[in-house]
Symmetry: C2
Subunit: 341 residues, 2 copies
């Protein structure tokens, strides 16, 4: 059996309708809803075919049909081919320029949640292949030294080091010069043991400080652990009966709170890069267990070469894919624009 034009239209009508109402869709509804001018009986025949093809399901005999994961997938694929959405009120809201990245991201998550009525998440941009830009040691106390490490992208890391011997300003200056001349501009891979031991030798009795600083540098460059995830609109989950089941909702809410559980999603969506930057996971396709009754749409944004972050929208399978994808695309562009200023 083939999926001809008409079946496609009917499937689309079923999905659209189901997205709106959340109820199984019957043949009579479709017969009126579409401009095909077919009777409900004909629709019934077609629906039987669509079911056999696996695009729709019946929750029980004598209920209407609902889209299967396969059906959603087809719909989404079809839909993703087109449109660049009109710019909505988000623009204004975002352009109340926040100076702090953290605030901006939280704001984005919130705006998205309010706009879409789904749960949302956003990560801080991940910086890969980081290079060290600058190191500064300063004496704060008699026996405390502050190490400030700046890496590319102006990410700053502070570490307090305790020292036994008291260091005078001159020694500190020497150490600063030593560290900066050796390490600046290098990435994690480029700093090798040979260099380290050479530096330690030059540092003489202060070699342990050099060791501590290098540890801190490694930590700063790695930056993996710096992945912060902000969420918003978790409570929207309860708005969708199919997710509001106590057990499931509880797991989902937990996933959103224990943000670690979301990292898998982030990893996956970054790796499955497909050009558009937008990924759609329907039901079981998701890498996160607790979301297997949901659909997830993720977008990868990029502020600067190599600074990538992920935005995600999590909702029921009958998510308004159309709107969500459009919104995400708009948002990506706006983040782009925003950063260029």
């Amino acid at each position: 059996m083939q999926l001809d034009e008409r079946k496609m239209k009917i499937l689309q009508a079923i999905i659209r309708n189901y997205l709106e109402t959340g109820e199984p869709v019957g043949s009579r509804t479709i017969s009126k809803y579409t401009d095909l001018n077919l009777s409900s009986a004909t629709i019934r025949n077609e629906m039987a075919d669509l079911e056999e093809l696996g695009y729709i399901l019946q929750p029980h005999t004598s209920a209407g049909r609902i889209p299967s994961d396969k059906g959603y997938r087809l719909y989404v694929d079809k839909m993703m081919e087109d449109k660049e959405r009109e710019i909505d009120e988000m623009k204004e809201m975002l352009l109340e320029k926040e100076d702090k990245m953290e605030h901006l991201l939280k704001q984005v998550a919130k705006v998205l949640a309010v706009n879409t009525n789904y749960a949302t998440m956003i990560t801080t941009p991940q910086i890969h292949h980081n290079k060290l830009k600058f190191i500064q040691l300063s004496r704060v106390d008699a026996n405390q030294i502050l190490a400030v490490i700046v890496v590319e992208g102006n990410v700053i890391k502070n570490t307090m080091l305790s020292v036994n011997e008291e260091l005078d300003e001159e020694t500190l200056l020497k150490l600063n010069i030593l560290l900066n001349t050796h390490l600046n501009g290098l990435s994690l891979e480029e700093i090798n043991l040979g260099m380290i031991s050479a530096m330690k030798q030059q540092a003489g009795i202060h070699s342990d400080i050099v060791g501590d600083v290098i540890d801190a540098v490694a930590e700063a460059i790695k930056a993996d652990e710096d992945l912060e995830i902000y969420t918003s609109g978790t409570n929207n989950i309860l708005k969708y009966p199919e997710l509001a089941d106590k057990q499931k909702a509880s797991e989902l809410i937990n996933t959103f709170e224990e943000k670690k559980l979301l990292t898998e999603l982030v990893q996956d969506s970054l790796s499955e890069e497909n050009g558009t930057g937008i990924q759609v996971y329907i039901g079981d396709e998701t890498p996160v267990q607790s979301m297997k009754d949901c659909s997830v749409v993720t977008a990868t944004y990029e502020l600067e070469e190599g600074m990538k972050g992920t935005i995600g929208i999590i909702g029921p399978k009958r998510m308004d894919y159309d709107k969500v994808v459009g919104t995400l695309k708009t948002l990506m562009h706006q983040l782009d624009d925003l950063y260029k200023k």
Copy 2:
């Protein structure tokens, strides 16, 4: 009418029982449950009195009784007089010493949530009357300057400043000395306009940098905005039927996600300091609207003179106050111990 010994015992029995079961408690249950050896009829009489006194309620005729807010309040007050609870497994879990404060606090919230089955929150310690300890300006780029500001308690703040003119190392050194000699050891109140203009005058053409740095210092010392709140176990809310109502649960979950909404609670519990460090809010007593069907227990912890934070447990009114208060007390002591090392 008076609240005599026997009424007190009966009230206590009702509350205990209700805490366990979550169901209204009948007279027959109490008659068997207590060691008073009274018939259900007598209990009924006493219960009628207790109701008149406002300590218990009937959800409807011919249902058992449940404690009113006033009843809970009495119970809690009574209970708070005693006990120092045995140390439980929490000790081990916490003593897997986390080096980072942030991780430690998240861990605490989680342990608490798992242990109590309620929703929990914890704030970073708030530092009041902060004093500036150290300022360091360093040139990172041709036209970017990094200002590192360390305040008492070793809280560090970084700010990037853009400059038009290029600054040589010598000028920078002078500015550093200027700033440190004038500002070190001062609190927000002690930095006045006179000092600022004097410094600007000395800085000559670089007065705008001084201005920027002072702004950053003000920001760093204020520290109010640094109040981070971590939550855990939000999903526990759904475990209690009286809170799991869609509407209410949704608002609650939102409160936990939009952590700003929790600050009122923190403020209030810090201000209502009553010596023990523990506060109990029952129903309407809470300062947070969305929690008026809950009970909230907060504890104030103090790491160092002036570094106070708040821990909160949010659950149904039929919360196991006994256990919660005990747990919080233990926890406070352990945080104390932990910090001393």
